[in-house]
């Protein structure tokens, strides 16, 4: 068994590989194609079943200087599309053969059109996730979209569509979600054993790893982390939300923990666990995946909440993870997160749950202010919450 450090070192190398060399190596090894998708949710099972490597693209973080990307967007547009364009224009995405743009927000939606114009030889698909959650009406629509996507990706990759291949992929991703859930559960119960930045890297490794390899990778890390001797600190337990698309810099995650916060739940990598539980292997696998989106997806600002119980999930998450408070961490100019935030705040205040908020960009370089703010929040909760 590898040590925790070895797992983290490998995940860290993949995280910093913004040229996607591991994808190129996989393609050389297998002779197959790769399909990238932007945050938050994409049906990776479909990509996998088409014999392609699903690649979750989260921009370039703070690792690439943005030159060309800035020429495409006004100052009031978030950072993620700039760095994504930068990666593409600098040739770093050349090994990605297909690009999927989920309906996360209007910026990602419009980026799909820009991609069509910029890279006319690449396969580009906008994924219009159903915002109507009626099982029958939306189920038929979404299943139709998934079928269309599956047929097109199979054609691109030179594979034959098959229900068996789809079922195998559904099973692989269900297993992966179980592994991710175990890691999240460890963080909620014993966060000192799997520090936030470390767990984050382990999950992010799945951005580029074949799914079955990633599942084994998480399981290996979990075993190593549970056996590691790490001290429990007197930290405040917080839930972090709002960071589901453009990712915070790794250093920001470390900063929050250094400021005295155990991140017992976060939505940084929510795309990897957007469906809760296993997807049924009975019946038509496309129908099963479509219904899983309608019935088993998490609450997230990028999708509509038909039941009107806005924020109930957050209150429940705070209770389930025994968190002391909530940190709203949203990227600047992020419509979904920032429009959602006042509604979540209302729910928290009704439940008497303390909260604080800040904004960031993926290439933020200064963390002192956030550290002070998080530290003050943490101290306040620990020292004064019972007063």
């Amino acid at each position: 068994m590898d040590s925790v450090d070895q797992y983290v070192a490998r995940a860290d190398a993949l995280y910093h590989d913004v040229s996607y060399r591991s994808v190129a190596e996989w393609k050389t090894r297998t002779g197959k194609k790769a399909a990238g998708h932007l945050p938050v949710y994409a049906p990776r099972e479909i990509i996998d079943a088409a014999g392609m490597l699903p690649v979750a693209m989260h921009g370039a973080g703070d690792q690439v200087e943005i030159i060309r990307g800035d020429a495409y967007f006004q100052s009031y547009i978030c950072q993620l599309p700039r760095s994504t364009i930068e990666l593409a224009m600098s040739g770093r995405l050349d090994d990605i053969d297909a690009f999927l743009f989920p309906s996360t927000c209007d910026v990602i939606r419009n980026l799909s059109g820009m991609w069509k114009m910029l890279f006319p030889k690449k396969f580009v698909r906008y994924l219009d996730l159903p915002q109507n959650f009626d099982r029958k009406v939306a189920g038929r629509f979404w299943a139709g979209e998934l079928r269309h996507l599956y047929a097109d990706l199979c054609a691109l990759n030179g594979t034959t569509p098959s229900d068996d291949a789809l079922r195998l992929s559904l099973a692989r991703f269900s297993a992966n979600r179980r592994a991710v859930a175990s890691l999240m559960a460890l963080r909620a119960s014993e966060p000192w054993r799997a520090p936030a930045a470390e767990a984050y890297l382990i999950i992010r490794a799945g951005d580029v790893m074949p799914v079955e390899e990633h599942t084994a990778f998480i399981e290996g890390y979990l075993a190593a982390a549970q056996g590691a001797d790490r001290p429990m600190r007197d930290y405040t337990r917080v839930v972090v939300t709002g960071a589901f698309c453009e990712q915070p810099p790794l250093e920001l995650i470390r900063t929050l923990e250094r400021a005295g916060c155990y991140l017992v739940w976060d939505d940084f990598t929510v795309g990897a666990r957007f469906l809760e539980g296993d997807v049924s292997l009975a019946g038509d696998p496309i129908e099963a995946l479509a219904q899983a989106f309608l019935n088993q997806s998490v609450k997230n600002a990028c999708v509509y909440e038909p039941d009107g119980k806005k924020g109930e999930w957050l209150v429940n998450t705070v209770r389930d993870t025994r968190a002391d408070g909530v940190v709203f961490a949203a990227p600047s100019f992020c419509d979904p997160a920032l429009l959602e935030q006042p509604m979540l705040v209302t729910a928290l205040e009704r439940a008497g749950i303390p909260h604080t908020s800040f904004k960031y960009a993926e290439n933020l370089g200064q963390f002192q202010v956030i550290r002070e703010q998080a530290g003050t929040f943490s101290d306040g909760l620990r020292l004064w919450s019972n007063a």
Partner: protein
């Protein structure tokens, strides 16, 4: 979409529209007595005919927001929304609406707007709409019915998309309206309303296309936002809208016959010096000042994309009473911001040719990523495909803090100078080409030989 400021010439159509809007708001203020139900919905992808078939009164929050801006109330409303925790980064229409509600919900005519009995979330071409009505649901604690309009990501409307829309309308929207009003759906009544819509749409398209004349009898952006008012809001499908557009068309024809330009708040436009296409919504806080910057330079907008957010009728769509629900679905999916970027570019390039435009000016608004994300690429591609110059200005919808008059004016003036230089350079190159041609046609004298 009227302004209180205008002291200029009032044509009959303007008075007609003003009265239509006033009557609508009077009706809204009387719902306590009339017991009419009120449905809040959005302009793009609105189902006005269906709502009118149930005798409910539509309210469009984005219209309230822009009206508030024109009445200089938006600043206080946005401030109130930010005070209660709404981010400075997000759409100011939303904050203006939330702030207005929190400060008494007084509408543009000074009367309190009724609360919604239902929120019809016509989710078309704008992500923020979804969050907006989630916020309003929390504010009003009232039911919401979602109509998810699939985006034309691949530049087409597929049968799956249409089926999805029709099923939502038939199985969810109509039952919600039946439950709200206690009335059964009357398809024949819907057909009749759609017949009236199509008549008005014909006239509206004729008005918009009148800008192909030189000089253009209309301004298709600043004037255009008035012209689309009845069509895009509560009046499509009414006899009032049919009459309004027939009158408007007559007035345009009269101006064409007289060789006159658009009527503006400053009077009839001076000589038309520039013919522009404008992409993006206008700024509403300084609407008249903004318009005047164009007026003073003799710049007339001959085509705009904003006037297509509530339907792309100029591309041929008409409400079709023979297939009412399919037609409503097609209408929603065809709205401008529900089209992908290559489609939007194609439209603008087509306008440049058909309207003999000098160039494209983009008014990029901070509030609206649906419009704004990708506009710099539109600009570049427009220039590449047409060889005509593009200009770029930045303002906001209803937040005056993002309207810098001096900057905007400078940018517009610089852009117009660029057009002049391009014309001059073009004329010079034409002259040079003619001279070269003349030289080539002259007999050769002393070729190659020394005297």
């Amino acid at each position: 979409m009227s302004t209180e400021q205008s002291a200029a010439v009032k044509e009959p159509s303007m008075l007609q529209q003003k009265e239509m809007i006033a009557e609508h708001f009077r009706e809204l203020s009387r719902t306590g007595e009339t017991k009419k139900k009120v449905v809040y919905t959005f302009v793009p992808g609105n189902l006005t005919e269906l709502l009118l078939a149930f005798d409910v009164l539509p309210v469009h929050p984005e219209i309230n927001a822009l009206q508030s801006a024109m009445r200089q109330k938006a600043g206080a409303y946005i401030g109130e929304a930010e005070r209660i925790g709404h981010s400075e980064d997000v759409c100011t229409y939303v904050k203006c609406d939330i702030g207005m509600k929190r400060l008494g919900n007084v509408g543009p005519t000074g009367e309190v707007l009724p609360k919604p009995d239902l929120l019809l979330l016509s989710y078309t071409g704008c992500f923020t709409f979804m969050k907006w009505f989630e916020l309003l649901r929390q504010e009003y604690d009232c039911p919401v019915v979602m109509l998810h309009t699939p985006y034309q990501g691949d530049g087409e409307i597929t049968p799956t998309m249409t089926q999805y829309m029709v099923e939502q309308i038939r199985q969810q929207v109509i039952p919600a309206l039946e439950k709200l009003t206690g009335k059964s759906f009357d398809e024949e009544r819907l057909r009749e309303l759609m017949r009236l819509s199509a008549r008005a749409e014909d006239d509206m398209v004729a008005v918009l296309e009148s800008a192909k004349h030189k000089p253009s009898p209309i301004d298709a952006y600043f004037g255009g936002v008035y012209y689309i008012g009845p069509m895009f809001t509560a009046f499509r499908g009414t006899q009032g809208a049919v009459d309004y557009y027939a009158q408007l068309r007559r007035e345009c024809n009269q101006r064409i016959a007289a060789g006159e330009g658009p009527i503006t708040p400053e009077g009839t436009s001076p000589k038309e010096r520039f013919r522009l296409i404008v992409e993006g919504p206008p700024n509403w806080t300084h609407f008249r000042e903004f318009w005047k910057m164009f007026h003073d330079e003799g710049a007339v907008v001959v085509a705009s994309t904003y006037t297509k957010v509530g339907g792309t009728y100029d591309l041929g769509f008409r409400h079709d009473p023979t297939n009412p629900l399919e037609s409503l679905a097609q209408y929603c999916m065809g709205c401008y911001t529900n089209r992908n970027l290559p489609q939007r570019l194609d439209m603008i390039v087509k306008y440049a040719d058909e309207y003999s435009a000098d160039g494209l000016l983009i008014n990029s608004v901070k509030s609206c990523n649906s419009f704004s994300a990708g506009q710099l690429m539109l600009l570049r591609e427009f220039e590449r495909r047409t060889g005509k110059p593009g200009g770029f200005i930045e303002t906001d919808l209803v937040d005056a803090r993002y309207f810098s008059a001096a900057n905007v004016k400078n940018r517009i003036e610089s852009y117009l100078q660029m057009i002049v230089q391009k014309r001059t350079a073009g004329a010079a190159s034409v002259d040079l080409a003619a001279a070269a041609s003349l030289v080539r046609s002259l007999p050769v004298i002393n070729q190659g030989g020394a005297a």
